[in-house]
Each structure stands twice: as C-alpha cells, then as structure tokens.
C-alpha cells in the first residue's frame, strides 16, 4: 500500500493535524511507501515532516498555486498520485481538508471515508471507524475501490515524533496547472489575532447559560488563561450575543477533541455533546447534579459556577506556580 499524505503548513511548521496524519499513515505502511505533499510549502515545513518520520515530501510549486484554490489543489494531488502511485490519500478533516478530500475522491474514482476516528487495513482496503448521528453511534466502513481517500478527525490520532528524525528527501514538484484548474481562489485570510481557536486548542474552557450574564464570562476567560487553553461557548450564549459564533462548540459550531474540556454552566444538550464528546478528559461544573453533562464527565463539581470558577482558577495558578511542574 502506497500512501500520499496532504500536509498543511503553518508558517515554518506543519499544522498539528498534519503531523497526526503522518503518524497515522506510518501506522499503515513503511516510511518508503509514504509521501507527503505540501502545496506551495517551504523546506522548513518539509523538514518538520521529517521529525515525525516522513522520508519523502513533494513540495508543489508554481505561480498558479500562490493563492489557495480547492480546484487547483485537486489537480495537484491527482498528479502527485500519478507520480507516486499512491493507493490511498490521507487528509486531516480541517476546513481545507474537508472541502478538498471529497473532490479528490471523485477525481480518482476513489471511495471516501470522512472524519475517521480509527483506521486499519483489511488486505489492501481501508477500514475506518467514524462517528455518526452526532456522535451517538459509530460506523465501521470499508472502502471497496482500488484508489482510496480518507480524512482524519483532528486531535484523535496522537502525533509521534520519530526516534531519530528521518532524512527527508524533499522533491520540488511542478504540476501542470492551467487557469482552467483554478476555478476558485482564496483572496483574503482574516486571522482572529491573538486568540487560540477552539479547533486547535489542547485545553478548552467553555461557558453556558449558567454564567448568568456576559459580564461573568471573564471567569471562563481567566480559567482558560490559567490553563493555557482556548475559550469556547454553548449555542445558548452565542445566540444571546454574549460570545462570537467562532467560539461555539457543538453540532452547529465546531467539533473539538481536546485533552481537557471544562464545561461551565452548560447543561450538556445532545447538540453540544456532538461537538465535544470525543474530548479526552471532560470536567463539568453545574449546580444541577442531574444535568446530562455529568453523564459524560470524568470529573464534576456540583455547585455555583460563579463561586467555583475564581477558586478553581487560583488553585490552578498555584499548581502551575510550582517550580517542579512540567
């Protein structure tokens, strides 16, 4: 089985989700059969892939690739598949990966397994486990075509650094891209400055209606800051205008799988759970001990979130103040 991994760069690094995809690919095939592809990437990014054990990276270059285009990216990957003979193309289910992977699947006449939580091979066919019905069930599917495409849910696979960084064979790759391939074009990217996005955070502290008023939200922000995490929100407080939609976690918001998710004054409606149930550790703070969120929580505090949060934040700061803490 030969695998092509779509890599997304971030300044001079790779997105964490791409590192996870490398580890996942290397769990299916030996390094000599796995190639990464970077669109308009840098050699630093290619080297970063080496640190995670990737030995071959194609860096696609060309004027047509300066501004990201999902349709041009489809053609680049098609040509990279031809060049490498890849049977499987792996993506991360990021904003770009989710949009691009199904196009590539159609182009390659490949079966597609989206948003996978686990992957394995049955002979040469990919078998994937993926969440369905808002995470209330999981489905096992097998791709039946020779060419195969899958996307991996971010923060589920753990990226593993290689024992010794691979000597990366970086190859410049100049695909044949014409104006007809560039059907869409990203003309502007607006980054939420200085704010860690919930979809990329290891730790998330989210607030809900139990906070009572927007003035109290600083309690959530303080805890998030103490933990080095991002701030999230339930839909109830987003709809009420307390918080921006970019912070909403859940079915109509973002899907997150952080190491730690702290739900403050959130009831745990199924639509909220849909966005965070794959978090590794869940802490719930709620005054109602029957609140559904406690069914999913690893740890819980029953009480008034307005009283608990300042105490919890100062306790965390105390722990972090310890000199021997890593």
């Amino acid at each position: 089985m030969k695998i092509l991994v779509f890599l997304e760069g971030q300044e001079n690094h790779l997105k964490r989700a791409s590192k996870e995809a490398i580890t996942a690919a290397l769990s299916l095939a030996p390094a000599e059969n796995v190639t990464g592809i970077l669109l308009h990437g840098t050699s630093e990014q290619a080297q970063a892939a080496g640190a995670f054990g990737l030995a071959n990276v194609l860096v696609a270059q060309g004027d047509m690739l300066k501004d990201y285009s999902v349709t041009a990216a489809t053609s680049v990957i098609e040509q990279a598949v031809q060049q490498t003979g890849a049977d499987l193309v792996l993506f991360s289910a990021t904003a770009h990966g989710k949009e691009l992977a199904p196009r590539v699947a159609v182009r390659l006449q490949a079966g597609f397994a989206p948003d996978c939580m686990a992957i394995e091979l049955d002979g040469n066919q990919l078998v994937a486990t993926r969440p369905v019905y808002a995470g209330k069930a999981s489905q096992k599917i097998k791709i039946t075509t020779p060419k195969q495409v899958a996307s991996l849910r971010p923060n589920i696979f753990t990226a593993k650094k290689a024992a010794s960084a691979a000597n990366v064979n970086v190859q410049e790759f100049t695909p044949n891209i014409t104006a007809a391939d560039v059907k869409t074009k990203v003309t502007n990217v607006a980054v939420n400055e200085g704010k860690l996005d919930v979809s990329e955070a290891d730790i998330i502290v989210s607030g809900g209606r139990g906070l009572k008023a927007p003035e109290n939200y600083h309690l959530v922000e303080s805890l998030a800051k103490a933990l080095g995490g991002a701030v999230g929100a339930s839909r109830a407080v987003v709809d009420a205008g307390w918080r921006p939609h970019t912070e909403q976690v859940g079915q109509t918001g973002k899907t997150v799988s952080p190491k730690l998710y702290v739900a403050c004054g959130i009831s745990g409606a199924v639509q909220h759970l849909a966005g965070m149930s794959s978090s590794k550790i869940i802490v719930a703070i709620n005054k109602d001990k029957e609140a559904p969120i406690f069914k999913l929580a690893d740890y819980g505090l029953v009480g008034d979130v307005l009283e608990i949060l300042p105490k919890l934040t100062s306790k965390i700061n105390e722990v972090h103040g310890k000199p021997n803490h890593n």
Binding site: A101, P102, G111, K136, T184, Q251, L296, L312
Partner: protein
C-alpha cells in the same frame, strides 16, 4: 437565477437511536425525522437570492417516500418546485452526489446550494462531490455570500479565522450557520404545501464505493467522579487533574 437546493431528511438529534437487526443502520421506528438543519439555511439562501434577482428555486431530495416530508417543508418555505429522486438505500454519499448531479445536468442551475453537512452521517462531502462531478467550482461552509452579476464572493470559516473565496457562476456552495436566519413556514403555506406536486424520478446511480460493515452505540459510559463545591472539593479536582488525568 435558476437555483437548486439539496435537502436531506435526517433524524432529529434529540431522538434516541437504536441499531436495527442488520447491525448496520438505525431502526427508524419511533425516530422523528426533520429537515437537516443546515439545509434550512440553504433553502433560505435560495429564496433570498431569488427575491434579489428573480428566477426559480427547485428543492431536491434523494431518499425514500418518507423523505417527501422534507420537500413539503421546502414547499411551505416557498420553493417553486420539488423533486424526489427515489433511492431507499443511499448508503453511499457518492451515489447521492451522482443523483444530484444528474438532476443538475438537466435543469442547468446557476447556483446549487447544499448544507454544510447532513447531521445523520456527518460526512461533509456531497457539496464538493457535486462540484467535482459537474466540473463546477464549489465553496463549502459559507457563512456570508455576495453575488454580483456572475461574480461570487463568499466567506468561509477556517481554523482560527475566516477566508474569503472568489469564483463565478455557475457554482456550488454549502451553507453554514450564520449565512442567514431561516424563515418559519406559516400555517397556511404548510397547508397549501400538502397538495403541491412533488415530481418523482428513479435513481440514476447505483455506484457504491464504500461498504458499511457495522454500526455500534458507544457503550463506555464514563464513571465520573462528581464532587461538591467546597474548597476541599476544588483542591481535590485540581489534584486529580494534575496527578490522575495528568492534563494540568
């Protein structure tokens, strides 16, 4: 403008689900079915674009007879025409995309609008697939859309921000929350929609590229440690997070 809106019918997220005897899909008995929430944004956008530039809005569903309910809702919201492509299986999203593309080839829409994802299989793939099959541009997860003549400008959410994407009609977009506020159909319109025609046609696709092996409900209920709100409880929580869970 000639607009095609794709609508899928899904179980209400609030409903309990159970796996049927095949072990591969849910048992529909007792499940309440609704219009996929993202498709309400898609329908609303279609109706607003029509209000701005004239034309027709056609709603399309691929599914069994029961999926007609979703089309009735679309008619009640104000679409001009409803088409049901009969396909009871629709296990594979690619065949849904092929069916949508087949209808699109016939009615030649300037704009095809879908939802970001259907909340049953959450697969987030049909919009891009329809675009690719038809050789059209597609922009997914659109939270803001402006159409000027044939120029299309859309904002989509990305990790940590937003990107602006430009393309031209004809194109495919998928709707994200925030694109608009979907209208509630009014009672008289709901009544009128009951007698409006729904055009039925057979499935034009039998392609399957993915096989479902099984479906399971997660069984691992977490045995959480629930404490009170005393200073001691808070200190204990921090200790557990630090020493047991090792996340702090």
């Amino acid at each position: 403008m000639n607009i095609l809106v794709c609508v899928s019918q899904v179980p209400d997220t609030a409903s309990k689900i159970a796996v049927d005897a095949s072990g591969k899909k849910i048992n529909p008995a007792g499940v309440k079915f609704i219009v996929n929430p993202y498709d309400e944004y898609a329908l609303e956008e279609g109706l607003r674009q029509k209000a701005a530039s004239g034309g027709t809005v056609t709603a399309l569903t691929v599914g069994g007879d029961t999926a007609k309910e979703a089309l009735r809702t679309a008619l009640a919201m104000g679409v001009d025409k409803a088409i049901l492509v009969k396909d009871d299986v629709r296990e594979d999203s690619f065949s849904v995309a092929e069916n949508i593309a087949a209808v699109a080839k016939e009615i030649n829409p300037d704009l095809i609008i879908l939802g970001r994802q259907s909340i049953d299989f959450d697969s987030f793939q049909v919009a891009s697939m329809v675009g690719e099959i038809l050789g059209l541009p597609s922009i997914s997860m659109v939270s803001k859309l402006a159409i000027n003549g044939t120029n299309v400008t859309a904002d989509r959410d990305i990790e940590g921000g937003k990107e602006t994407v430009e393309t031209t009609l004809p194109c495919v977009i998928s709707a994200q929350k925030g694109l608009n506020e979907p209208r509630y159909p009014k009672l008289p319109d709901i009544m009128k929609a009951k007698s409006k025609p729904i055009e039925e046609r057979p499935s034009a696709s039998s392609t399957t590229r993915v096989e479902v092996l099984g479906m399971e409900l997660p069984q691992s209920k977490r045995a959480g440690k629930v404490l009170g709100d005393s200073d001691g409880d808070i200190a204990e929580l921090v200790r557990l997070l630090h020493e047991e869970a090792k996340v702090v």
